[in-house]
Symmetry: C2
Subunit: 347 residues, 2 copies
């Protein structure tokens, strides 16, 4: 970014366009904004005239007319290949878009490699007036983003379990841990003693939270985790983790995966190793993706209502951006959906 160097060259004015097209300046605005009741032939004539004269409503003029960009940012700190691998994000985006699309809002998606890049991006988006607000993902311990965004004056919401002390409102299901307890109780109740957890990256807050609850819940049943393996959410790492858990004589009899796509890979890897699901191995996912309901066996999973959370985050952010939208109160906690991929522990 450099300071302005001199004035821009002579540009045609909206009045000149209006005169050349034989309409009012208001009609020129309407033609570009697709509002008003212009006949299509009139609209086309105005647009053609504007193009001929080299006139367009510039961003600066538009900015004077309205400070609203009708754009919300979603910044994701993930390698690009994980975006494709983890359907969690398309579920989230679907939930957000469900609220944005009917209101004519767009979602500005940015992928960043690290914290520094993410923070620099928020500064640029604010400096250039690109967005009205931001949805933050992946709550982290000692998260510097809420303070930064408050300083920049950008409305924001953070996806994560509600926390009244947080400086940026959080949107997520309460009692995230409760579902993991429910999973452990379900598996222990089925007689499983060797229960493993294929988790996400170690530095994510929800990975730590769930991992802690997993251990505590097993402890209450007098058990220890068979293993907790961290992955980068990719299919390859899910398959490798599954093989590691099954490649011994006293193999795991139940595996809990941090998302459904890893669980589906796990089912494939186990069946390839000659194991039946659920007779020889019980499998639990997280996310309740539509696909899981249709596989054979149908996937037992934790419904985290990712789409609903995305929608609630979008609604809260829209309200904070001045839109007339009622907030959704998410009272529900994640719940275990028992289907066919879990069963009694093998004898």
């Amino acid at each position: 970014m450099s300071a302005p160097t001199g004035k821009p060259g002579r540009r045609p004015t909206i009045k000149e366009v209006a005169a050349a097209a034989g309409v009012s300046t208001a009609a020129v605005s309407q033609a570009f904004n697709d509002k008003g009741r212009l006949a299509e032939t009139t609209r086309r004539r105005i647009l053609d005239t504007a193009v001929e004269l080299g006139w367009s409503p510039s961003a600066s003029a538009a900015a004077l007319r309205s400070a609203r960009t009708r754009t919300l940012a979603l910044v994701v700190r993930r390698p690009t290949d994980v975006l494709g691998a983890d359907p969690h994000f398309s579920e989230l985006i679907t939930g957000i878009e469900g609220e944005l699309a009917p209101r004519g809002y767009g979602l500005l998606l940015h992928l960043v490699a690290g914290a520094q890049e993410e923070n620099a991006l928020y500064k640029r988006l604010v400096a250039e007036g690109r967005v009205d607000g931001a949805v933050l993902t992946d709550a982290r311990a000692d998260d510097p983003r809420p303070a930064l965004l408050a300083r920049l004056g950008l409305p924001a919401v953070l996806l994560g379990p509600p926390d009244r002390s947080a400086s940026v409102p959080r949107v997520g299901l309460r009692h995230q841990g409760a579902a993991v307890e429910e999973v452990v109780r379900h598996l222990v109740g089925l007689g499983h003693r060797r229960i493993a957890y294929v988790a996400g990256p170690a530095d994510l807050q929800h990975t730590r939270l769930r991992g802690g609850v997993f251990e505590t819940a097993l402890k209450e049943a007098g058990l220890r985790p068979y293993a907790v393996l961290h992955t980068d959410f990719t299919e390859v790492s899910a398959v490798a983790a599954t093989r590691a858990l099954l490649d011994t004589a006293d193999r795991a009899t139940a595996i809990v995966y941090a998302n459904d796509s890893m669980a589906m890979c796990g089912v494939g890897a186990a069946r390839r190793a000659g194991l039946r699901i659920p007779e020889d191995l019980s499998v639990v996912g997280h996310d309740n993706l539509p696909l899981g309901r249709w596989l054979h066996p149908r996937l037992t999973t934790v419904d985290q209502q990712v789409q609903r959370v995305g929608a609630a985050a979008a609604r809260l952010l829209l309200a904070r951006c001045g839109e007339d939208v009622e907030e959704t109160v998410l009272e529900d906690r994640p719940r275990l959906v028992v289907r066919e991929s879990t069963g009694p522990a093998p004898a």
Copy 2:
């Protein structure tokens, strides 16, 4: 959109911010843009001073400094729930983001309900200077978008098979039909005579193209389609179509699906009906999603290189927006990836 009404109120200037923070105006710019070699303490002091004085580099000032928004639009004409159901889009977005993210570009995602809304959106984005270019999806017969975008002066690329006569450059694999021919030859070679096709919505250009090739290829083998069923790409419609194809005495022995997630649902529905894959039913998908490689049986599919096409479209558009990016030439055609879900027709 209304015309500007009066001048904005007195605002602090960048010079005043620079003076109050004890730095140059260039340093103020750098602090907001996160460029240059400012110490973090200096940067913070500048940002805090700017917030105190109520100064921010406005969108209008930013527009004067640079016409670049570093934002490309992707407008998708789909119900929001299909975005989540069809991993095709997360693959596409992943491919685009792979090129955008390293260059600091964002992707502005808009979901629209219909053609009129899509066209109005392009006009607004251009009018307000929100994007540098647009990636168009779902080439349609008599597509009015290329002419509109040319008139608006917005750089664009259209995802679809290359066509030299098109007014907007198209990015896609050549010989889309060749892979469908290959699928049919593969299945006929395995002895299948009752081959069905579970297609996408009838009004999409690629649905028609593939459907035509499917029929022609079967005709060359002296066969007719067992059935061609159209769906809205959702899991539910894939399961319903599969059941319809299997619920008769002379059921289909091979089903080709328009995408992998529908094929995976089809495998589940078939196994639930007591059929073995591929002994009783052969299944072919489209897209070559990562998950398909890890299921059991591994999915035979058509690799359409969705990520690569997305990346190539992004590169071409970046080049048209003035970025120094070499175009990728996509020479490859879609290819059949034979895995485990296809086998000899049942006797």
